[in-house]
Amino acid sequence: MTLLHVEGITKQFGGLRAVDNASLSVPPGTITGLIGPNGAGKTTLFGVISGFIPPTAGRIVYNGADITAHPPHRRARSGIARTFQIVQPFAGLSVVENIAVGAYLRHAKRADATRVASDIAHRVGLGAMLHQPASALTVAGRKRLELARALATAPRLLLLDEVLAGLNPSEIRDIIPIIQAIRAEGVTILMIEHVMQAVMNLCEHVYVLSQGRMIAEGTPQAICTDEQVIEAYLGHGAAGQMQAHA
């Protein structure tokens, strides 16, 4: 049983094949990682899964149904929430208003949406900044806001696109338990991440994308010693050199 099944997704931008026949599955209740060097096509694949980018070929199956043709807002309503790598706050609104926009998806009343929004703000550590404008937040604060807004839609599947990038080590230490707590509540997570500390700590299963292709998958430990993965990151022949030095 899988919650999300990505089958043979290809995305062609003119002459550039950003994603090339990539497949992955996310079992319910797990945290699955998606890693790969810069420009590998991870964010493009996320865009396809969340409905922002139409694929050239392939299909997306969510909860047993083919959702390839569904627009983003419909996927959000069916329980797929995403964060943006480049944060997209509603800059003119306050923190709690930002989160409430997400909460309105499941709560029609203002009082309910605001209450849910302020609960979630406290959970992700934005409780002290409820009424500040979103534009006043630091980078770390904006990343938390992305997470809070996505959570407010009460998702079944949460797509996290580099929520840890740009944070310092102590900020990363603060956020990791929050992500673990989200999973503990039964939300399935698929995350793109560069911070290996987080990938090792959080993910049960990791997929590696390089130049648009899925080149490896496995447990984080297995991935770290995989020759193809090392070469994708460090260049051709790097795996051999590392073994020679070891």
């Binding site: 969340s50 922002f52 627009p71 983003p72 807002h73 959000a76 309503r77 929430a81 995403r82 943006f84 997209q88 706050p89 509603f90 800059a91 003119g92 609104l93 208003e97 409430a100 926009v101 997400g102 309105y104 998806l105 029609a108 203002r110 949406a113 807004r149 996505a150 407010a152 839609t153």
Partner: protein
């Protein structure tokens, strides 16, 4: 809301009712015109201020409301009140149609503004040519001052009705801003991609704003018809109303419920004063409007309402 703001609003309201009841005809004429523009501007504010879609063509809604009201009465003998109801519905319909055509094509920002201008101009030229609108000679409604005809012997009564409409839309706007729909408008204004990711159908949200905005501005057109009983294509679909409705909002305070009313009253008062002082220089008030727009965007981007709020929070920094 602060006590001082409530007192200020009550005082303004009292003064307006006072003018409507006891003022001379010239003052009432001034007030009716300013309030009709305020109503049109309230429509603009819902779409431009709350939903972030700037239109240069609100004349399309104003004129449609005005013409539907006038044509139904003069050509088909429909009751004036029913005619106005149809005019408002027609405004909502034309708003939805223009919105559907432009937003489905992905037009945003200045492209959307330009296409709305184009729609209003096409309607103006069509109204100038079509026989049903009376073409260049315009349409004259029969003078028949009975309440059943939506015509009143007393200008003051009509003024109070316009004021009631403006206040009703003020209440409606304040209420919408506090609901789920209002949050959707704000989300679409601030960031469309983020709105989509949170389950908001951006196209439907924009069409809702267009329909509502079109209906409100069309209501202003209906009231114009009923007060002046004359219409031609340059009044109905002329760019004057498009410009005044956005100017009133920007000067008064964008995305604030009272902004369009403050702006329309301030602009019209200033326009009248300039005409009195400068005498017969044609278009001098328009020159002044241009200068005010530049000054407002440069020095008071939140308009008069923003200046008032800033002054209030300076006086009581902790409130």
């Amino acid at each position: 809301m602060k006590i001082s703001s409530v007192i200020a609003m009550a005082a303004v309201l009292l003064a307006l009712v006072g003018v409507a009841l006891f003022g001379p005809n010239t003052a009432i004429n001034f007030l009716v015109t300013a309030l009709i523009v305020a109503l049109a501007a309230q429509g603009w504010n819902l779409l431009g201020g709350y939903c972030g879609q700037f239109s240069f063509g609100h004349a399309a809604f104003f004129g449609t409301g005005a013409y539907v009201t006038a044509i139904l009465q003069s050509r088909y003998g429909v009751n004036a009140w029913i005619g106005c109801g149809c005019g408002i519905l027609a405004g909502a319909a034309i708003g939805t149609l223009i919105g559907w055509l432009s937003f489905r094509a992905g037009l945003r920002g200045s492209y959307f503004a330009l296409i709305t201008l184009a729609f209003a101009e096409v309607l103006r030229i069509a109204a100038n040519a079509a026989p049903i609108t009376g073409g260049g000679t315009g349409l004259l409604l029969k003078l028949d001052m009975r309440a059943a005809n939506f015509q009143f012997a007393s200008r003051g009564t009509f003024c109070l009705i316009v004021l009631a409409c403006v206040l009703a839309v003020l209440a409606l706007t304040t209420w919408i801003a506090r609901t789920k729909r209002g949050a959707e408008f704000a989300a679409v204004r601030e960031n469309e991609d983020a709105a989509r990711a949170l389950g908001i159908d951006v196209l439907v949200t924009k069409l809702r704003a267009m329909a509502l905005s079109g209906a409100i501005t069309a209501a202003a057109g209906c009231l114009y018809t009923q007060y002046f009983l004359y219409l031609d294509s340059n009044i109905a679909y002329g760019s004057w109303i498009s410009v005044e409705s956005l100017l009133a909002v920007i000067v008064g305070g964008i995305a604030t419920p009272a902004g369009p009313i403050i702006g329309a009253l301030a602009l019209h008062a200033l326009g009248e004063a300039t005409r009195l002082l400068a005498g017969r220089i044609t278009g001098i008030d328009l020159v002044l409007f241009g200068l005010i727009l530049v000054a407002a965007t440069a020095f008071a981007p939140k308009g008069l309402a923003g200046l008032w709020n800033a002054a209030q929070s300076r006086r009581s920094p902790r409130a």
